[in-house]
Amino acid sequence: MTHCWMCNLGLMPYKEAQELQHRLITLRYKNIIDDILLLLEHPPTITLGRFANPKNILVSQDELKRRGITVYPSDRAGETTFHCPGQLVVYPIMDISHRVGRLREFIHCLEEVALKTLIHFGISAGRLPEHPGIWKHGKQIAAIGLLVSRGVTMHGLSLNVNPNLNDFKVINLCGLPGKEATSITTLIDHNVDIGDVITCTQDTFSEVFDVDLETISTEQVMGDSYAAESASMV
């Protein structure tokens, strides 16, 4: 079992989180830090993956502005994705160059984390061969998209816990017209504390990836990553 940091960043804008991940993958590549698992939520944001078609945004710019939804380009794989409070985002910054197996198996493991977490809440979801992510009753409950740079992963998994599902209708989910999102709260018909989902996700992540998670504060991760980045420029 290898050591892995775990940090709950709380609510963090997508741009800030993406910049943090870029700092961390550089530190991880240089073996300055161990693997680190980031858990967070984003304010309402549409992210466009590298091959996203902007036509998958179904409402006008004015409407997006009125609803407080920002649009941001992402360097992850995949199409159009929606993030908002009530959706747990899981970003593993992991050096996978020392892990035997194909990159596809890493995605498979990340999907397993979502599936096992859902089972804990009494939901038996699954993969669809034709579509990425995790699905239940034909609706998407978790989306996946990653970037690997120099053998280190960033971006990851987003799991719908108790978000406002109406907001997801502003896009074609993953570029798939007509597909809808669902959530843990919707499926089990009562509200779930996202903190409980975080605790469960930590456990399943530790089990699936065989890592020993140790919590570290947001302040330390942010401060040290900035400090190390500045030092590298000297």
Binding site: W5, N8, G10, L11, L27, K30, N31, I32, I33, D34, L39, L40, E41, R50, F51, D75, R76, A77, G78, P85, G86, S97, H98, V100, R102, L103, R104, F106, I107, P132, I144, G145, L146, L147, V148, S149, R150, G151, D193, I194, G195, D196, I198, T199, E214, T215, I216, S217, Q220, V221, D224, A227, A228, A231, S232, V234
Partner: protein
């Protein structure tokens, strides 16, 4: 809500910077240390002018890091860069197996640890591609973004992206220089050209080196093989 999340995490362990940044002192001088290590490791390689000499392990040999392996020396006369057009070779390269892996290393070129190969094909001109190891790790590649002809690349800077499944893989440029050619034939069938034949049909671009001395900093086939056999073992 997010405050609630933080509360659920309980007591957060406070660590010193040295604990989180485990190699802080190394990081400050890390680039220099890495450069020295690579230069030392490649010190037996000759610089390339019109004739490129490489010391390599015999093809198809199984390498054991604990057992010295005999080496052979091949000398190839390289064409001048002016007017040079790289043509996909018709013959497979000599290879050595990576112990513990199903993949092999071509012995007629050099490497970076990020699983890219670099082959000197003309005076100060290299062809670049991904290794069998990387091809196997990625599984079936379905998109590949390459730098266009004329692009100026910096060693360690962004080279391109490949997509496999729900994963983007970012490649870094192994050398500094200008892109001379781009292998558009790979787009006929990325699986057949790159996954099935990464060392020959799957070449990606050719680059005119702006810092030819960077060639000496690249990994030899033996070094790349040893690194990957250790990883796998």
């Amino acid at each position: 809500m997010s405050g609630n999340l933080k509360n659920r995490l309980g007591k957060v362990k406070k660590l010193s910077r040295r604990q989180f940044l485990k190699n802080a002192s190394l990081f400050m001088g890390g680039a220099a240390v890495s450069s020295i290590a690579l230069t030392t490791a490649c010190s037996s390689s000759n610089g390339t002018t019109t004739s490129d000499t490489q010391t390599t392990t015999p093809p198809n040999s199984t390498t054991n890091t604990s057992t010295p392996t005999p080496t052979i020396t091949t000398t190839t006369t390289l064409p001048p860069a002016v007017g040079f057009v790289y043509v996909t070779p018709t013959e497979p390269p000599p290879k050595m197996e990576i112990p513990g892996c199903t993949t092999s290393t071509a012995t007629d070129r050099k490497y970076i640890i990020e699983h890219m190969w670099i082959k000197m094909v003309a005076e100060d001109v290299v062809a670049v591609g991904i290794t069998e190891k990387m091809s196997e790790l990625m599984d079936l590649i379905y998109t590949m973004d390459l730098p266009n002809v004329g692009t100026i690349l910096q060693k360690g800077g962004l080279f391109g992206y490949a997509t496999a499944g729900k994963m983007n893989v970012e490649f870094v440029s192994p050398v500094s220089g200008e892109v001379l050619q781009k292998n558009n034939e790979i787009y006929i069938d990325l699986g057949m050209m790159i996954n099935a034949d990464p060392y020959v049909k799957g070449w990606l671009v050719t680059i005119k080196l702006t810092n030819p001395e960077e060639w000496d900093e690249l990994l030899t086939p033996q070094e790349y093989t040893d690194l990957n056999s250790k990883v796998t073992g």
